[in-house]
């Protein structure tokens, strides 16, 4: 036994690590990696290459051949009304849902972080929407937003506010459609946001709080002077992760109009546009160009996230 251990030990040296000290058969790693690599190649790597090619391929000619490579698809997509509509809706969605969800989540996480009874019940209540599908729960929201029999308008009526046409388009305009989607989106995003912020709060050294209390700071002062600044990196990261996922908004608009984008096709989102182009209209080039624009936006935010993570971590 001791003898063998001696033999194995030098294997840890760097020079040996480059070789195959860990297995005596060179093909062994291949067997382990093969299923993973195969799936990845077919369903991730190939599609990435393909979508870039398709985005730059010009329209099919009548003959069925390509015209060559160029920026036509991007030109078309950026000039398309539905796509412009999609970009503006997506940005409105991202820059309302994410800040609202973040502010609410900071408040709730801060309260959940105190010593309170019934923690399990509160956690269950606040985190449940995370595991349930937007399609199923969206149906319930659709009923809530119903302009005649919905709970939302009943609530408004208590304050003497007239019924709002949340999901419809009375008079040919549908300004409330996006508001309904935003409310649903905030509700959907809260659990994930609260969880991340709560774990951020739990990482704050309790020493800071003790010190502040000794100095006689009130709870509001503690919140704004200690909690918020120390939580800032987590808040920022959470916001960026949420923005990345909010840019892909799609499922949230499906249940309200049974799969149509808004009451009068007014609520295109970027993903909805991509899906419609390649699936319903069979325009792969336009879909690919739109997908690449979406990717570039997400890429920018991911880079921002990496940068912040590196800056705050140590």
């Amino acid at each position: 036994m001791a003898d063998l251990a001696k033999k194995e030990k030098p294997a840890r040296s760097k020079a040996e690590a480059q070789g195959n000290y860990i297995f005596n058969r060179k093909w062994e790693p291949v067997l382990y990696m093969l299923p993973f690599a195969l799936g990845l190649l077919v369903f991730t790597i190939y599609p990435i290459v393909r979508v870039v090619i398709m985005a730059f391929q010009e329209k099919y000619r009548l003959s069925g051949r390509y015209d060559g490579f160029g920026l036509y698809n991007f030109q078309y997509v950026l000039g398309n009304d539905d796509f412009r509509n999609a970009i503006s809706n997506t940005f409105i969605y991202v820059f309302t849902v994410v800040p609202i969800a973040t502010i609410l989540a900071i408040l709730i996480a801060n309260l959940l972080n105190q010593k309170i009874r019934g923690m399990a019940i509160f956690q269950t209540a606040y985190f449940l929407p995370m595991v349930t599908s937007s399609i199923a729960v969206g149906l319930s929201w659709r009923y809530i937003f119903n302009s005649q029999i919905g709970v939302m308008n009943w609530l408004l009526s208590l304050f003497g506010i007239e019924a709002v046409d949340w999901l419809g388009a009375s008079g040919g305009v549908a300004p409330w459609n996006i508001v309904a989607v935003i409310i649903f989106g905030v509700w959907n995003m809260l659990p994930f946001t609260i969880i991340l912020l709560l774990s951020g709060l739990q990482n704050i050294d309790p020493m800071y709080y003790t010190a502040a209390k000794v100095d006689g700071a009130g709870s509001r002062k503690i919140f704004f002077r200690i909690t918020v600044p120390l939580l800032a990196p987590t808040i920022f990261l959470t916001m960026i992760i949420n923005m990345i996922s909010a840019f892909k908004v799609y499922n949230e608009i499906i249940p309200f109009w049974s799969g149509r984008p808004g009451a009068i096709n007014n609520l295109y989102t970027m993903v909805y546009f991509i899906k419609e182009q390649f699936y319903s209209k069979d325009r792969l080039g336009f879909a690919s160009a739109a997908a690449i624009i979406l990717f570039l936006i997400i890429f920018t935010f991911t880079m921002l996230q990496r940068y912040v993570q590196r800056k705050f971590r140590y």
Partner: protein, 275 residues
């Protein structure tokens, strides 16, 4: 002390109000599934259905639609997806964590960059691929494209990396092959991470929506989410029945969450949900 008590009261009041708002859509969905047509259409709304044993909406929804079949399909897809993805992830993560092969860390770095690419971008080509492979309208088309997950492999690899090398050497000295070492030592140690991965995967499989709408057109292979969607897009269909079907569709996830809340929450706090 009195001020402290008042503060606590405020905290509870706020938390309870928030919890009510968060839970209301669930309550509304479930309670409305038991309503009669008159109760459903009343305004002001009916807060409590008169008969909580009125299963009319459930039976009619299940009779009218093949929800039973959809349910079984979803169970099969979720089960197979979790097991197959689990196995592929374990093997891949072990490869990246323990086995030495040329370009290992470079490849892994590249994979992490791929994680940024949204599924919505891959879907264009993947749809064509499965069409060409003649996989559309089958249950396997809902499983196979998702078997290799960079995200899950990344989580598990990170965990494998924390397992001390000395365990490996002693196992090797005792004559265990890599294969045995992986399944007898690594996998049992990594159980918490594995459970987390499997739970996250089960949730995303069960709730998967966009992909099934693209690749399943036959009634036979519909999943629950797809069944709900076709149910709601059907002209003139009864909303009460849709809500009853929705209630049944979210039950498995609610049960899963009640039993495994801690695992799910920890998993989400560490890595976030897929997508």
């Amino acid at each position: 002390m009195k001020a402290e008590k008042i503060r606590k009261c405020f905290i509870y009041a706020f938390l309870i109000l928030g919890a009510v708002i968060m839970l209301f859509p669930f309550y509304w969905m479930i309670s409305s599934s038991f309503k009669t047509a008159a109760e459903y259409n009343s305004f002001p709304p009916t807060w409590f259905p008169s008969d909580w044993l009125n299963l009319d909406n459930f039976t009619r929804a299940f009779e009218k639609r093949n929800f039973f079949v959809y349910f079984i399909n979803s169970v099969i897809v979720t089960f197979l997806s979790v097991s197959l993805t689990g196995i592929v992830t374990i093997l891949g993560a072990f490869g990246f964590s323990r086995l030495r092969f040329p370009g290992r860390s470079a490849i892994f770095g590249m994979l992490l960059a791929f994680m940024m690419v949204p599924f919505e971008m891959l879907v264009i080509t993947n749809y064509q691929t499965v069409t060409r492979m003649q996989m559309v309208n089958s249950l396997r088309v809902l499983i196979i494209p998702f078997i290799s997950s960079i995200f899950y492999t990344y989580i598990l690899k990170n965990f494998f990396d924390t397992v001390s090398d000395s365990l490996y050497y002693s196992a090797r000295i005792d004559g265990a092959s890599n294969w045995k070492y992986l399944w007898r030592v690594m996998v049992p140690i990594a159980k918490p991470s594995l459970v987390t991965i499997m739970l996250l995967n089960a949730i995303s499989s069960w709730n998967s929506f966009m992909w099934p709408t693209l690749v399943i057109t036959s009634n036979k292979y519909r999943t629950v989410q797809l069944g709900l969607f076709t149910f709601m897009s059907e002209a003139g269909s009864d909303t009460k029945l849709q809500l009853a079907a929705s209630t049944v569709s979210i039950l498995p996830m609610i049960i899963l969450f009640l039993f495994a809340r801690r695992y799910i929450v920890n998993g989400v706090a560490r890595g976030g949900l897929k997508g």
